[in-house]
Amino acid sequence: MDLLDLIDAAQSVADGLLFGSTYALLGIGFTLIFGVMHKINLSYAAASIGAAYGSLLLLSGFTAAPAVIVFMAAALCGGVIGALVYFIGFKFIPVANPLATLMSTVGLLLLIDEIIVHTTEGVPLAYPALYSDVVVRLGQFMLRGDLMFVFVLGCACMVLFLLLLYRTRLGIATRAVSQQPIASQLCGISILQVNVLTFVVTGMLGGIAGAMSGAAIGMLSPLLAQPLTVKGLIVTVIGGLGSIPGAIIAGLIVGALESLFQFLRGVTERDLYIMMLLFAFLVFRPGGIFAKAPGRD
């Protein structure tokens, strides 16, 4: 491996790390819903892409709406879709059967995907990007302005989200419901309200993640829903189900490794290594990155 290869390898890691912030946001959404309800919402990534599409639809009457407005609209749409997902896929499904909600969210994933396809005929749509023309060059090394923006925005969302979770009454209520649902009900916390708000907040986060994915590529396509669902789940497992710091770190790691394996082994083997990493975590650290090592005989 010569110097140029080393630079390319470092460049791949940097690109992947920046794009990984999208995975981190998706991972947070998956993990928070699991943390609060102990259920997996498989429609989360599709809803995120749906929210990004929704932002285009919402602003279709305005020619060339600024990207910031589009991002805010995506968050708004994400919140609305999140609430809808809760009421359709969770609220009326029997709590005693965890598989029922899993299957209902699979159905919602397909439904959201098909709604997008039927609305757009499956045709990719251009999505506005901020700083898409900005490239920071350091010799052979370069950093994309739009990806840096995505990264900074992702980090800002994560910080805001952690503040919301640890510094507000809603955050305390969410954590209380997550840890002791019956005790929190006895303390006067409305489980329904917390659940709805959790779906709305994670939906908004997902909307931003969907918008960030669209901005990073410059286009939106229904093709994005399936790979982002898989990546979101991988990040959630590697980060540890229910662990928000784990989801953030895992998102960045998966993004970086995906890009590095693409560089080292090519597109046909890239996903193989990510899946092997997932299995390694499931076997050796099933609790995720920040879990204590399991005791073994």
Partner: protein, 398 residues
Amino acid sequence: MRTVSVAAAALLAGMMTSVSGGALAQERTVKITGFGAKSGVVRVFGVNSEAAMKAAAEEINKAGGVTLGDDAKAKLSVEFLDDRCNAEEGISVIRRIASSDAFVAVGPTCSNVAESLFGILQKKVGDASDSGLQFPVFADVAAKGGLAAISEWAFRNVPSELEMYKSLFAWLKREHPNLKTIYGGVEKDFAHSNATYGVMKKQAEENGFQLLGTGEWLLNDTNFSTQVREMRRANPEIVAISAHPFTTCGVLREMDRQGVKPKLLIGLTSSSSIETLQGCAKQAEGIIIPTSFAPVTAEAKTAAENVSKQGGSMDLHSAAAYEIMFILKDVIESQKIMAKPDTVQADRNKMRQGLAALKETKGLLGTVGRTNDREAIKPYLYVYAKDGSWQVLHKPSS
């Protein structure tokens, strides 16, 4: 007097019967069933094919419809079924169509579906030992080379990508003798892109271009920085991308960011569509793509407008569906197809014979030749992206 009255009544009754018989004949309808992807990410292909078939049917009906074997006039109607670009669904759809009164079906969209469903058709006509379906299928979109050879009941009106890229690279060699090096890019997990890249690569090398490398990605990839960095390092004069609009645009944008500016860009036939221009018109500026449709003749322009009115858009794929409807009209008339419930299998045999006997058909860009293995030899031209639209660059036949 009484005799005269009876005769007059009989004459009147006869006339009324004749009139109502004529009215009934005018009301006959022949349903042509199309099928293809109308859900999933390739839905647009099905939508466009259906619109093209309906536009053609409307035009045929306006001109008086089709004359059946019993000299009755019939209107054409179109039904379009969804196979979801899935082989199992495709087989199920074709079995459903074959169990109806239909004597031909138009489709499918995807090559993987065509390959599987042509496989369940009878291989050789008249082979009693082969229990395969005896039902003619006329493909409009499925582009993978040589598929009609699978069964004598399979027909295609699909352009030959081999011929188009063979001609394109020979033309490039003539027109741009100073260009020597080429770099390829391919959507590795899509049958059409992958097969066409094989064609592009072979034709480039046969015409003396030096292949510097190939970047590979997947249909739903979102990050192309690694592939484009390798491309930038190779510094090619020509870049040939065999991918559909979503990833073509992703790669072109990444090339723009990394400052990769080849002297010439070549694209996949399927990317000569409005989606590419909607997604990345600026980055796609100048890309050359061979295609078997462009609204360059008065007939093609009218057809494109009619398809647009039906909610679709005309491209090389939907143009094939449009042409097929006119071919079917001609065969129905020449083979004297009856289109009655009790003549279904006979009509299917006649339709197959009629299609197999065709040596040439009329296309929107000119005469389309037919080969012995039931494929089309379609006229084509090269288009290039200019100021957000597709412009004709060269007509090889002219």
